[in-house]
């Protein structure tokens, strides 16, 4: 049976404290929405988070990459293909962006499962990520969280996919036209009562009917939490008990948009018994409900183990909701040479260097002449998945960074090779020579003249929780 072969969850290291948002700009009672939400670092977006999630999957040799998000960094230039290139998946694949609503992820998942079931593909990587930006103090900002998830749809290793039911409505609860960066919403009470509760209820109940199972035969049911007080009412009204409802992680992550249904699945699989039946529903322009059967456990908690507080003022500066001074040095951004990026796409986006066929020395960047033996016989060698150590580092207050100081260093890779990289997800005073790091795909910069987001790899210190 078709199922989930492999899975990766990526939650950014940072959290916003909702109380701090209220204290800074909010007008909603502080008791109403407690807890934290996940926040992407200044150099993260939906693409980078999706790549980081997919790096945790066994995703070699997939036939297609589907990417679901309502926060696609590019409107034109396919986002899924940027992800595929960063993962070094080669060009013999099909790629597609699924967008427009926060149920795009289940649409992508169901499509992938159907392709595999039909024998048209063996394995498909489905990535989902969101990094939704609301106006400071808005409900959207407070309830949303930033995260990514990736699954390989193929054999039923972690879980099987048993059935689904889709309901689709043109329900304008939240919308954003092509010219806008920030979304508009209609009244909450209307969204809650006419859309959220009804659509999820309809999708789950029709799925139960279709599969001919009763709520008591389901181990866990999960769907996103938009309104904490009304959240459990949906499942309770369908005949589920409180214990069957999966914690939506609202006070830990927030609603992570397209990533959320897969994050819920991962959280359930952590504690599921083999053959437990699971229902996951998405929400947005309707709802898709999907039924799974658990096969193996998944170490979900690992992905939320390390967390740090991000000051709200930094968050609004990073998201460019607060225009901060960049200085004349910061304004000098070198124009992006797109044809150079194309020629060196594996080297830049996939962190592929070279290894000497004569002496075996790995080297980055890619070399024409071996640095160790001067042989000209070299082969591609990927560094993105190699562990590294900090050889040296600095905290640079002269270099422009939206998150000063710019922290960078020379990284030595296990197995050979070294280069200098930005070091991210760390604060001044935390680094030491010799500290272990892993590589993480990040937004390197934005070229405001050529309108290009540039991506590259940075080092992230491994932190023991």
């Amino acid at each position: 049976m078709v199922g989930i072969e492999s899975m990766g969850i990526y939650v950014p290291r940072y959290r916003l404290d909702r109380r701090e948002i209220f204290e800074s700009v909010g007008w909603i009672s502080r008791n109403f929405l407690p807890g934290e939400r996940a926040a992407a670092n200044y150099d993260e977006d939906s693409i980078t988070m999706a790549v980081n999630a997919a790096m945790k999957c066994e995703c070699n040799d997939v036939d297609a990459v589907f990417f679901a998000s309502v926060t696609m960094p590019y409107k034109e230039r396919q986002n899924a293909e940027i992800i595929a290139t960063a993962l070094d998946l080669g060009s013999d694949i099909s790629t597609a962006d699924f967008t427009g609503s926060t149920k795009a992820v289940t649409t992508a998942l169901i499509n992938a499962a159907n392709y595999v079931a039909a024998g048209k593909a063996k394995r498909i990587l489905v990535c989902a990520a969101d990094c939704r930006i609301g106006r400071p103090g808005s409900y959207l900002e407070i309830v949303s969280g930033d995260a990514a998830a990736a699954v390989v749809v193929g054999k039923e290793k972690l879980a099987s996919i048993n059935g689904y039911h889709c309901v689709s409505y043109d329900f304008a609860d939240t919308w954003r036209i092509d010219k806008d960066d920030l979304a508009k919403s209609w009244e909450d009470r209307w969204i809650r009562d006419e859309g959220y509760k009804k659509f999820i209820t309809e999708a789950i109940s029709k799925l139960l009917e279709k599969e001919n199972v009763s709520p008591s035969e389901i181990a866990k049911v999960a769907y996103p939490c938009l309104y904490p007080r009304d959240f459990p009412k949906i499942a309770l009204s369908l005949g589920f008990s409180q214990e069957q409802i999966q914690d939506p992680l609202f006070t830990i992550l927030g609603n992570t948009g397209n990533a959320h249904p897969l994050i819920m699945l991962a959280a359930i699989l952590e504690k599921a018994e083999r053959d437990d039946r699971i229902i996951i529903a998405s929400y947005g322009s309707g709802s898709d409900a999907v039924m799974f059967t658990a096969k193996e456990n998944f170490p979900f908690s690992e992905s939320i183990r390390v967390r740090k507080k991000m000051p709200y003022k930094k968050y609004i500066a990073f998201r460019e909701l607060l225009p901060v001074e960049k200085g004349m040095r910061g304004e000098e951004v070198a124009p992006t040479p797109v044809s150079v990026l194309w020629r060196n796409r594996r080297e830049i986006l996939a962190l592929v260097g070279s290894r000497c066929r004569n002496c075996g020395t790995p080297q980055y960047p890619s070399q024409r002449v071996c640095v160790a033996c001067q042989s000209q016989d070299l082969e591609p060698y990927r560094f993105a998945d190699k562990k590294g150590k900090i050889f040296s580092f600095t905290e640079d207050y002269l270099a422009f960074s939206i998150n000063p100081p710019a922290i960078y260093g020379i990284i030595e890779f296990e197995g050979g090779g070294r280069f200098w990289f930005d070091i991210t997800d760390c604060e001044p005073g935390e680094l030491k020579v010799g500290m272990p790091v892993r590589m993480s795909f990040r937004r390197r910069d934005f070229d405001p003249q050529r309108r290009v987001y540039n991506y590259f790899w940075k080092a992230v210190p491994e932190v023991r929780g």
């Binding site: 200085g327 040095r329 600095t394 710019a406 020379i410 070294r418 010799g434």
Partner: protein
């Protein structure tokens, strides 16, 4: 072997500083006029010239035309050279090799850099100067940041606590400021204390403000002839004992390196000692002008030049070995620390001080009877550099 084949017969050096009053042309003319007067020749006597500039984009533009235009050099061959911060030494090498070969009899080497028109502190942004691919993969490195990584590594390798390490580095800057305060041509002419250095804001950890050289405008020039003709121009010409340049093939950054030395300095120095016939530099060299773009660079260079033993330069610093009254006075003019670092000019500015010291014309800063002096001019980053080591003597063998 270039030893004793060429001599410097005239030098000039502009006032260094934030020269809001002066552009490229003003600085070039200021240094050139002094060099002509010093050599006792006229502009028309110059047969070929080499111009060193680095950031042409933010000042004079490309090629040697800006120099030929500024000085109105009469259709002679003029060449512009650029090798990052070692450009000044490259210009000298071009001029020295030209007269040594007999291709011409009198040649000019001049370095000019007008940095203070960018609108911000520090060197011009590196974004466009590193190449189109590197711009997509390098961190936003700055000069202090890349040299700071040497200090991070040095402290770690030799077990110096950050406090102890920073104190050693502070002594280097305090010494240079003491010398620079006596030099009317220096940019920063104020003595400082160790406490000033330690309390200054961090620029790139662990380097603070006083661990970094200034950013200045300036120019320096040298006029060279074959050694056998030198005494026709003056009694006290200064002889070129060696000019060596080493350029990194890139292995330090991507393959192997201990991170506590600069390989190009080591290579250039060894070749320079051989060319100059020096066996024990700690005993045979009388004065040093090193590329102290940052205090840590000076510390490490003591070791790379074999003046101090590996990992022990900090002990020499503590013992005052490099002070004006020490065994080998270093940065007698104040160094890059007090002159600042107008890139193309610095290599020749160092030669200017050695030249004056060897002639006994360094005024209040005069060292007692120096015979041999060394300049070290470093370009690029510790992990990927160009080093020039030049040795000069007042005596011809």
């Amino acid at each position: 072997m270039i030893r004793d084949k060429v001599a410097i017969i005239g030098m000039g050096c502009s006032k260094f500083g934030e020269r809001w009053d002066a552009g490229f042309e003003d600085l070039a003319v200021e240094a050139f006029n002094e060099a002509l007067d010093d050599a006792g020749i006229e502009a028309k006597d110059i047969q070929a010239a080499w111009l060193a500039t680095c950031f042409d984009e933010v000042m004079c533009g490309k090629s040697a035309l800006p120099l030929a235009n500024a000085l109105k050099l009469p259709f002679i061959p003029v060449t512009r050279v650029e090798n990052f911060c070692a450009s000044g030494s490259e210009a000298l090498r071009g001029a020295v090799y030209a007269v040594a070969s007999g291709a011409c009899d009198i040649a000019l080497a001049i370095g000019v850099e007008k940095l203070k028109d960018t609108g911000y502190g520090g060197l011009p942004e590196f974004g466009t100067v590193m190449g189109t691919k590197n711009r997509l993969i390098f961190p936003n490195v700055t000069a202090p940041g890349t040299f700071a990584m040497l200090a991070t590594r040095y402290f770690s390798e030799y077990g110096l606590s950050p406090e102890k390490g920073k104190e050693i580095l502070a002594r280097i800057s305090v010494k240079s400021h003491r010398n620079g305060a006596m030099n009317p041509k220096a940019h920063l002419r104020r003595e400082i204390t160790i406490e000033d250095v330690l309390k200054a804001p961090i620029i790139a950890w662990p380097l603070g403000l006083y661990d970094c050289c200034g950013v200045s405008d300036g120019a320096a020039a040298a006029i060279v002839v074959r050694a056998e003709n030198a005494k026709e121009y003056r009694e006290d010409p200064v002889y070129i004992k060696s000019i060596q340049i080493s350029t990194s093939p890139g292995e330090e950054l991507i393959y192997r390196w201990d991170g506590v030395h600069i390989e190009t300095t080591v290579r250039a120095a060894e070749r320079a000692y051989q060319e100059a016939g020096i066996e024990d530099p700690r005993k045979e060299i009388d004065i040093l002008e090193l590329h102290d773009c940052f205090s840590i660079t000076e510390l490490i260079t003591y070791e790379d030049l074999r003046i101090s033993r590996r990992g022990e330069a900090w002990k020499d610093v503590e013992n005052g070995f490099f002070e004006l009254d020490g065994e080998i006075p270093c940065q007698t003019d104040g160094g890059l620390k007090c002159f600042g670092h107008p890139i193309g000019a610095s290599g020749l500015r160092m030669v200017y001080e050695v030249y004056k010291q060897l002639q006994g014309k360094a005024g209040k800063r005069q060292v007692e009877d120096p015979r041999v002096g060394l300049t070290h001019n470093l370009g690029g980053f510790p992990a990927m550099s160009v080093a020039a080591v030049c040795i000069f003597g007042i005596d011809k063998d």
